[in-house]
Symmetry: C2
Subunit: 172 residues, 2 copies
């Protein structure tokens, strides 16, 4: 009977162990991504720049905005990348030209006045009609990154009152 | 001198080998992402739906589009997620309301008539003025995923001639 040297046995066992371990890690990462959960910060923030912390009073909590595209005289559409830390949200507000929201990462909420609070996940797309008060922001346990597309054609955003704790915590 | 049993030695060596290997994999993945290169398909296609294969004659190569937001009477802005396989590109075309391109993944090109061919990478944002002929698509060695934002307000896209091989392969 062939008796392999100890060195060969050690190498073989190491290779098998590495294969099993790394395969499990990849599988676990894939499942995590498929479930729409938040990726680590260094990956989640990679697509569009995070920009600057928002310091006005139109938001509750900590949020960042990066203006990717500005309005100009030929095309008044503009695009911002907004990152909400867990629990952060806009105040109620409306856009005279409406707004489109595209979710890049995380879990957040969207609600139009009088309507239910909706959950938004990566890949979701929302079109909010002109002049309809609404709010959007992160869930309490997840960062939320979204592209906001609007137009300055009919005037600026109208900012309203903050979202109450009761509204924010409403069931969905 | 203490002489550990063979089993203990084997387990210790396996654990060390697994740690080193998986650490290297993570580091390599991070570098790859930071360099803006293409992630594996199952990760790259995760954010927005890929949609259907484009079968009209306005594209060269294989491309897919998913309409995320449609134009309506209140807001004529629409958004599509376009996935170009390596080498695929639009024909020359122009939009009467202009177009915004946001790069989600991969490496591609963008060129306005008379201008240089530009490289586009993840996170890049382009605003093409109304009625300016241009084309966009994937590089020859990378998939390219982009959001296209336009408006039907001033009429449909005007499609022009295909991008020649010479134009596509021009240096940048």
């Amino acid at each position: 009977m062939y008796n392999p040297p100890l060195k060969t046995v050690l190498i073989a066992i190491s290779i098998i162990a590495v294969s099993i371990s790394c395969k499990e890690q990849t599988s676990s990462e894939t499942q995590s991504i498929e479930a729409g959960s938040v990726m680590p910060e260094q990956e989640a923030s990679l697509i569009f720049t995070k920009g600057n912390k928002i310091t006005n009073n139109n938001f509750v909590g900590t949020a960042y905005v990066s203006m990717l595209i500005s309005a100009d005289s030929l095309n008044q559409t503009y695009v911002g990348n907004v990152t909400f830390e867990p629990g952060a949200r806009t105040n109620w507000h409306s856009h005279p030209s409406g707004q489109i929201i595209l979710v890049v990462e995380g879990k957040g909420y969207y609600q139009e006045k009088g309507g239910p609070k909706r959950v938004l996940l990566k890949g979701d797309a929302i079109k909010c009609p002109p002049n309809v008060p609404h709010w959007h922001g992160a869930s309490s346990d997840s960062e939320f990154i979204q592209l906001a597309i609007s137009s300055s054609e009919n005037g600026p955003t109208e900012w309203l009152e903050p979202v109450s704790e009761e509204e924010y915590n409403a069931k969905y």
